[in-house]
Subunit: 333 residues, 2 copies
């Protein structure tokens, strides 16, 4: 008899399947609220929104709401708002980073121009707040507007740290807590607010989101150097090219000698790179186990995200949220 | 005996004097909420916020609230929020316009860079929404977030119209209704909402703000060519240099022949300008009475702003708001 034992299903896929109806509602809201009589606005908005993003942030909002038995529609508006804030941030990041390529694709500002990217980002940001108003919770509005301010602060700090090889691990963690984890935390926290869950559940979900966000960013930063199973090739090296000191590099700088320090100073601080330098960077990172250590840190944060769910009801939604946290790390292998 | 009859007092000054205590509260909020541990943020924010702006938008919010007998503190938060939205827009406009000078001053992006201007604009925008949350009115939040989206749409349309000599008067009016008047309208509308005024008063104040905003922008556009009492010199010519087709130019294009059209095409559509061209532009505008006609249009909108106040209580506040509308036009003479 054939073995019908199911192959392990990607938990992001399982969660997306569970949340299918809700996520269809979120997509409809996204399409509706990205519309404008000014044609270039939806064109740019959809260039980002349709770029194959995994909608992980709105998925967290939707799943958290369902986990807590929320029966209204406000979670759909907040989920769409979270995705709009994320998209607005990406549009503005492109202007800030000024790269020709981002994950192997031309950024919107290189297609339409900086002015358009700035203004359409502003538009999506404003529409995000209109969506929050629809959800009707002043407390959720407070959480998301505070997150938006923290994100901007984190981006400013990251900008100041670019090409600074003295960036410490602590400074790096502060930056990603602000620029990435704050929105994940808010995405998870607004649902217990909507559902009227107890304060300790709200705090636990905020922790879940924050820890998941830290894990997500650490994995992203490792993947930018190819993860641990490095296949050199496309979609890697953005941070190296842009002189962003992420955890792998900070760890290698701590562990390495003066020779290596000279390499990082030339390539990242001074931005003088030759075609072989990226491979050399990966070689150095692997020599010190810096990618492994980064993923180990990610695993720790993912574990704390899962632990936080102990305060939440045990059901298919919380199980999927736990699996999602584990998957975020596993995608690096 | 000497004549002690008071000289006519600038009504913006009188209004500012009436609203002195409230405006001090607004200033305190602005300083408090522009603060950040990331030092470059308050530095850039204050570069704009302390640039000698007249705080006309928050003044409208404060005066409208007092006119309606509002006794709370929410109008201070909303007034500060309105100023933050305005400042965020200015920061992003600088990036969009990419000029070396703005009203005779170096724009923030030329001092600190585009990335910093984009991100600090985002920060102020987020902080604006936090201030709105403090005011506690979901309806006011709706009005202001909608205005923010409309402003971004207006800016995108203006960007598309730059160097387009075919821009019609109607298109220009649509653009300034969105990019400028929407925030004035919202600044006036949120106070009746806070004060719980009847819907007809809220509608009237929205009209007051919108019409005042249109008058304000028309006057600004005339002043950019020196107003009617042209003294050529500093602080004029930004629009001409940037190829922005404002009402004076649209009117001159309508009225002029092919020769003049050639002048506008070369200088504004193609951006090829020699040092004498600005004086030549002013000469053409005056030949067709285009500056007078622009100010006449401004006067009409200011009159409609004053008319709208008929629906509001007659008191020292509404009288000052009426005088403010008239002053906005008179400053051009």
């Amino acid at each position: 008899m054939p073995d019908f034992e199911a192959a392990p299903v990607n938990p992001a896929v399982r969660l997306a399947s569970l949340a299918r109806t809700d996520m269809a509602g979120v997509e409809a809201l996204i399409a509706e609220r990205a519309s404008s009589a000014t044609a270039v606005i939806p064109a740019i908005a959809h260039y980002l929104l349709d770029a194959g993003g995994k909608r992980i942030r709105p998925l967290i909002t939707v799943a958290s709401a369902r986990m807590l038995g929320y029966q209204g529609r406000g979670h759909l508006s907040l989920a769409a708002a979270v995705e709009f804030i994320h998209s607005a941030t990406l549009l503005h990041d492109d202007v800030v980073d000024d790269s020709e390529l981002r994950r192997g694709k031309r950024p919107a500002n290189k297609v339409w121009g900086n002015p358009q990217s700035v203004l359409v980002g502003d538009f999506l940001f404003a529409r995000a707040f209109m969506l929050m108003v629809d959800a009707g919770s002043m407390e959720a509005l407070h959480v998301l507007s505070r997150a938006a301010a923290v994100i901007a602060e984190g981006e400013v700090r990251q900008l100041a740290a670019v090409r600074q090889v003295a960036t410490s691990r602590a400074e790096y963690m502060d930056i990603i807590a602000a620029k990435t984890a704050a929105l994940f935390a808010a995405a998870a926290q607004v649902s217990p607010i909507l559902a009227g869950a107890p304060a300790r559940v709200e705090a636990a979900m905020e922790t879940y989101g924050r820890e998941l966000g830290l894990a997500f960013q650490l994995v992203d930063d490792a993947l930018d150097y190819g993860g641990v199973a490095v296949e050199l090739g496309k979609n890697t090296g953005d941070d190296f090219r842009e002189g962003k000191i992420t955890l792998p590099v900070a760890l290698a700088l701590e562990a390495g000698g003066d020779d290596e320090r000279g390499f990082w100073v030339r390539t990242m601080a001074e931005g003088r790179q030759s075609p072989d330098d990226f491979d050399q960077a990966v070689t150095i990172l692997k020599r010190h186990g810096a990618l492994d250590a980064t993923l180990e840190a990610a695993r720790g944060h993912a574990a704390r995200a899962v632990e936080a769910l102990d305060a939440a009801p045990d059901n298919v939604w919380s199980q999927s949220l736990a699996a999602l946290a584990e998957f975020v790390v596993e995608r690096a292998y």
